[in-house]
C-alpha cells in the first residue's frame, strides 16, 4: 500500500475512483435535472442500494478496523455502536448524542479494561 502513496499512482486512483464517479452525477444533475421525479421506483431502488453500500462501509470499519482502532477489543467496538444507538433513539434522533455516547462508552471501556 504505502509504495504508491504520494506519487502519481495515488493521484490517478483519486481521480478514477473518487473524483470522476462523483462529478459525473453532479454534472448530470446540472444538465438533466429538470424533469426528475423524486418518488420514481428506479430512484427508490438506487437510494436503497446506496444506503446499503454505506452501511457496508460502516460495518467494515467496525468489524475489520483500520490502524489504531484494531487495538480496541471487538466487544467494545460493537458495544460503542449499540450504546450510541440507544442514545440516538432516546434523544429523538440526535446525531451528536449518538456519537458522544458511543465515544464515551468506548473510552470508558478502554480505561476500565486497559
Amino acid at each position: 500500500m504505502s509504495a504508491f502513496i504520494g506519487d502519481w499512482h495515488a493521484l490517478v486512483v483519486l481521480l478514477v475512483a473518487g473524483v470522476v464517479p462523483n462529478q459525473i452525477w453532479r454534472m448530470l444533475g446540472l444538465w438533466l435535472g429538470g424533469g426528475l421525479d423524486e418518488g420514481s421506483e428506479l430512484l427508490i431502488w438506487v437510494r436503497a442500494v446506496a444506503t446499503a453500500i454505506l452501511a457496508g462501509v460502516i460495518a467494515q470499519i467496525v468489524v475489520q478496523p483500520p490502524g489504531a482502532l484494531a487495538s480496541v477489543p471487538g466487544f467494545l467496538r460493537y458495544g460503542a455502536v449499540a450504546a450510541g444507538f440507544v442514545a440516538f433513539a432516546l434523544t429523538r434522533r440526535s446525531i451528536f448524542a449518538g456519537v458522544a455516547c458511543g465515544e464515551i462508552f468506548m473510552l470508558a471501556g478502554q480505561w476500565w479494561f486497559g
Partner: protein, 245 residues
C-alpha cells in the same frame, strides 16, 4: 447571528451575500457533524497509509464523505481501482437528485448554466439540507453568491478537520487515536439513520450492516458491492411487496 431581512439594502452586493454565506456556517449544527466526520476521515487516511496532501485534495475535489471513505477503505483492504470506482459510482448516484432539486431554488430566468457549476460541486448532503433552511431568507438574485460562501465555508471547516485528524492520528496515544477513528462509523451511521425517512431506506441500512460480515466471509474482494446491492435490492423488494394493496 440572524440574516438581514429580505428587503434589506445589505443584500445589494454579491461579496456581502458571499460573506453572509460564510458566516452562516457558524449557525449550523451540521457543521459540527461535518467537522467530526472529516476529523475521522483525516485519521482514517493516515492509518490507511495515504498522505496528508492526498487527503486534502480528495476533500477539495471529491467533496462527499461517504465516497472518500469508500475509496480509502476499499483500497486499503486490497480491492482494485475498478471495484472502488464501481462502489463510489453507485454511492454517488444520490448526488444526482440532490443537485437536480437544489438548483431550481437559485435559478432565475436568465441564469446561465455555467454559473451553477460550482454550486453543483458544493452540493452534498450538508449543503443540500442547509439550502432548504437558509435560502428562503435570501433574495433569489443573491442566492448563488450566498451558496458559494456557505459551500466555501463548509469546505474550509472540513479541510481544517482533516488536517487536525491526520496529525492527531500521527501523534496521539493509541486510545485517543482509536476514538477519532470511531467518529467516522458513528457519525455516518447516525446521520444516515436520520436521513432515512422511507421504510426502504431504513431496511437497507439495517440489512446492509447485517449482510456485510456475511459477504466478507466469501472473501471475493467485492464484499461491499455484494452486500450493498444484495441488501438494497432486498429492501426494495420488501418495499414493493408492502406497497401492494
Amino acid at each position: 447571528m440572524p440574516l438581514p431581512s429580505l428587503d434589506s439594502p445589505q443584500w445589494n452586493s454579491s461579496p456581502r451575500a458571499f460573506a453572509f454565506g460564510v458566516r452562516s456556517v457558524g449557525s449550523t449544527i451540521l457543521a459540527l457533524v461535518l467537522f467530526a466526520t472529516y476529523l475521522g476521515i483525516g485519521a482514517l487516511a493516515h492509518d490507511s497509509g495515504f498522505s496528508l496532501a492526498w487527503t486534502l485534495l480528495s476533500t477539495l475535489l471529491v467533496w462527499a464523505g461517504p465516497a472518500q471513505i469508500i475509496v480509502i477503505t476499499t483500497l486499503a483492504s486490497g480491492a482494485t481501482i475498478v471495484q472502488a470506482a464501481i462502489a463510489v459510482t453507485v454511492s454517488a448516484i444520490r448526488l444526482f437528485p440532490m443537485v437536480a432539486s437544489v438548483l431550481p431554488m437559485m435559478r432565475t430566468a436568465d441564469t446561465k448554466r455555467y454559473r451553477l457549476i460550482l454550486v453543483a460541486h458544493f452540493t452534498a448532503v450538508t449543503l443540500w439540507v442547509e439550502c432548504h433552511r437558509f435560502l428562503p431568507q435570501v433574495p433569489r438574485e443573491r442566492r448563488i453568491a450566498f451558496v458559494h460562501g456557505l459551500g466555501s465555508g463548509l469546505v474550509c471547516v472540513s479541510l481544517t478537520a482533516n488536517t487536525i485528524g491526520y496529525l492527531l492520528a500521527e501523534n496521539l496515544s493509541q486510545t485517543l487515536a482509536s476514538a477519532i477513528l470511531l467518529l467516522t462509523p458513528l457519525s455516518f451511521l447516525f446521520s444516515t439513520a436520520r436521513n432515512s425517512k422511507e421504510f426502504a431506506d431504513v431496511l437497507a441500512l439495517v440489512l446492509g450492516l447485517a449482510l456485510y460480515p456475511l459477504a466478507s466471509l466469501l472473501n471475493s474482494g467485492l464484499d461491499i458491492l455484494l452486500s450493498g446491492v444484495g441488501a438494497g435490492t432486498i429492501a426494495y423488494g420488501v418495499h414493493r411487496l408492502r406497497a401492494r394493496p
